[in-house]
């Protein structure tokens, strides 16, 4: 395994407004990523910014790794100043990634979540019903390519500047409740509804809504989560999320008692970087 390597930047171009496409070519052996995995990427050359930042693999082709990123704060600003020819360090691929879909599937991408979803579309061509939402049409990236790679594509923007006005989860709900009834579109007649898997990546608010939608309809869904990360490899415990489960109780010496809250809770923390970033949405305990 070669999950820590240097790479030469072969491109770092303005994609669209605040978005950039970073292409790097590893300078040594490296492991091949799968959809939904991510890399911790060095974003500057000094100690400020200090930590690497996590980015989903967007494309992997001809020994080039590509990342689609949105300029948000210090780290992504610094990254955007790096240029072709610069050398940076990467750690990855990290995390579990998406379990490969069997047959057709539904993909839900909110905003920059498309970066994580895209490799699914590319690997499983014409299998996805893609639901893609963003704040406005400028934030809908890779639209024509995504359309070509999908079986069908549904677009929405918060301001209605492209596609349906509103949240993409509305489009998803409608689709599930109306079109899904037409068996030809999704699966052979008679297939159980739960065979239809959903893959979702986007803001927490969107994922929570997706969670509601799929739970009431008993559909399997995998969601990719985000958390602040320091290490990306499971050691800092910075990136945890609540999932269903029971803490093991250990026999305690006399006079030492378990914290009360803890003993009665039915959730445990898992690391988004290690046990995730993709979780079965029904396991997630939203805060």
């Amino acid at each position: 395994m070669h999950r820590y390597f240097k790479a030469k930047i072969t491109g770092n171009v303005l994609f669209n407004k605040d978005y950039r496409l970073l292409s790097v070519s590893p300078l040594s052996e490296f492991a091949v990523p799968s959809a939904g995995q991510f890399y911790m990427i060095q974003v500057g050359n000094t100690l400020d910014p200090l930590l690497k930042r996590p980015f989903s693999i967007f494309r992997y082709k001809n020994n080039t790794l590509k990342f689609l990123y949105r300029i948000r704060g210090k780290g992504t600003n610094s990254l955007s100043a790096l240029r072709q020819g610069d050398t940076i360090q990467l750690v990855g691929p990290l995390g579990n990634g998406y379990q490969p879909p069997e047959g057709n599937f539904i993909a839900v991408a909110g905003g920059i979540g498309i970066a994580s979803i895209f490799p699914l579309l590319e690997r499983f061509k014409k299998k996805a019903y893609l639901f893609y939402g963003a704040r406005d049409k400028n934030e809908l990236l890779m639209l024509s390519e995504a359309g070509k790679l999908s079986r069908d594509i549904f677009i929405s923007t918060d301001d209605g500047s492209e596609g349906r006005k509103g949240f993409i989860t509305e489009s998803l709900k409608d689709f599930l409740d109306t079109q899904l009834c037409a068996p030809t579109i999704v699966s052979p007649p008679g297939a159980p509804r739960s065979d239809l898997k959903i893959y979702a990546c986007g803001p927490a608010a969107m994922l929570k809504e997706v969670s509601k939608i799929v739970t009431s309809r008993n559909i399997k869904c995998y969601a990719s989560l985000e958390e602040h990360m320091a290490c990306g490899i499971g050691t800092c415990l910075g990136c945890v999320t609540r999932v269903k489960g029971q803490s093991k109780t250990s026999r305690l010496p006399d006079g030492v008692r378990e914290r009360k809250e803890q003993a009665t809770e039915d959730w445990i923390y898992k690391r988004v970087c290690k046990e995730g970033p993709v979780f079965d949405i029904e396991d997630i305990v939203w805060e």
Binding site: R3, A230, G232, T235, C236, L237, C239, V240, R259
Partner: protein, 331 residues
């Protein structure tokens, strides 16, 4: 001090054997609290998990010692997220001491660590003196019966439930009590990890020494805070967190220098060490060994890069034994 003399003796023997015509590998081994380390580079607790994750990036046999994430007798879930936020040349963390507990560590993690010939230092803490003592006892029992635990490091930068949540390591009396109690509970080498959030770090180091510590390590994180101006909320769910990384290095180095002048027991220096030059600064200030924390997040191979860099420095400068660097600051 007896330990140190032994170290010198061993070195002399090994020196005699070396071929004088080849540029010989410098001797990097150090003795701390009765432990011989092959080099002075340890991992800082809480930044290295229980070792598993990093074993994929380099051979754990290369390390001077592995210090594991802090354990308590009662497993802890820790704080809500966000638990970390980057600051200028540093980071704040408020993990909340999440850990699997002493028992699960012994059952599930220790077998893995036993595979390596690198000493394992177990960092631990408690909410009460009783919890400290229980943890030390359980760990010592395991060390005696099955081995694999070579020293204990007490984290005293956590609040004491029984005295209004005053941090153990910021009050000399409370600190003395907890260190003495643990001292009685274990025969393993005992390292006391000092909190930097104090007026007089030398005093605290002396208290630890007097209470029976075999070594002190410092610095733990410095309490800090960050605010998100847009939402007008603290960035960390816990409001305050601990600052680590290069930002704190000048403070850590000063404290290590002060403590080295104040106590006779060995000092393990840490706080913002990112490269071999940083590590050498701490050694020159008087530290017998160093620990690398936040740097592991930035570069998973930071520890071995630092070991290699220190060795290169010694070769370049013609220093054959690391003992000649320790405390060599010219003031």
């Amino acid at each position: 001090m007896g330990i140190k003399k032994e170290g010198f003796k061993k070195r002399k023997t090994s020196r005699g054997k070396t071929d004088k015509h080849e540029p010989r590998k410098p001797n990097m081994s150090v003795d701390i609290a009765g432990l011989r380390l092959k080099n002075p580079v340890m991992t800082a607790s809480g930044t290295f998990g229980y070792g598993e994750e990093y074993s994929e990036f380099f051979d754990l046999n290369r390390l001077g010692a592995i210090v594991v994430k802090g354990l308590s007798i009662v497993p802890k879930k820790g704080n809500k997220t966000p638990r970390i936020v980057e600051t200028s040349a540093g980071m704040l963390n408020a993990i909340g001491l999440q850990n699997i507990g002493v028992k699960a560590f012994i059952d599930e993690k220790l077998p893995f660590l036993r595979q390596f010939n690198t000493p394992v230092v177990v960092n631990f803490f408690g909410d009460t003196v009783k919890e400290y003592v229980c943890a030390a006892e359980d760990l010592s029992r395991e060390a005696e019966s099955a081995g694999g635990i070579h020293a204990l490091e007490m984290n005293i930068s956590c609040p004491n439930k029984q005295s209004g949540w005053i941090v153990f390591g910021t009050d000399p009396k409370i600190m003395k009590q907890v260190v003495s109690s643990v001292r009685k509970a274990t025969r393993l080498p005992l390292i006391v990890k000092l909190s930097p959030n104090v007026t007089d770090i030398s005093l605290m180091a002396r208290v630890a020494e007097d209470a029976g510590a075999d070594a002190v390590s410092l610095i733990n994180t410095i309490t800090g805070m960050a605010i998100d101006v847009k939402s007008r909320k603290p960035v960390l769910s816990n409001v305050i967190g601990g600052l680590s990384g290069p930002a704190v290095k000048p403070i850590a180095l000063r404290m290590v220098w002060e403590v080295c002048k104040a106590v006779k027991i060995p000092v393990i220096g840490m706080g913002g060490i990112m490269n071999s030059r940083d590590a050498l600064e701490f050694m020159m200030a008087g530290a017998s060994a160093v620990a690398v924390g936040t740097a592991n997040f930035v570069n998973p191979a930071a520890t071995v890069d630092i070991i290699d860099g220190m060795e290169r420095f010694m070769l370049q400068e013609g220093i054959s034994d690391i003992i000649d660097i320790k405390g060599s600051l010219r003031v």
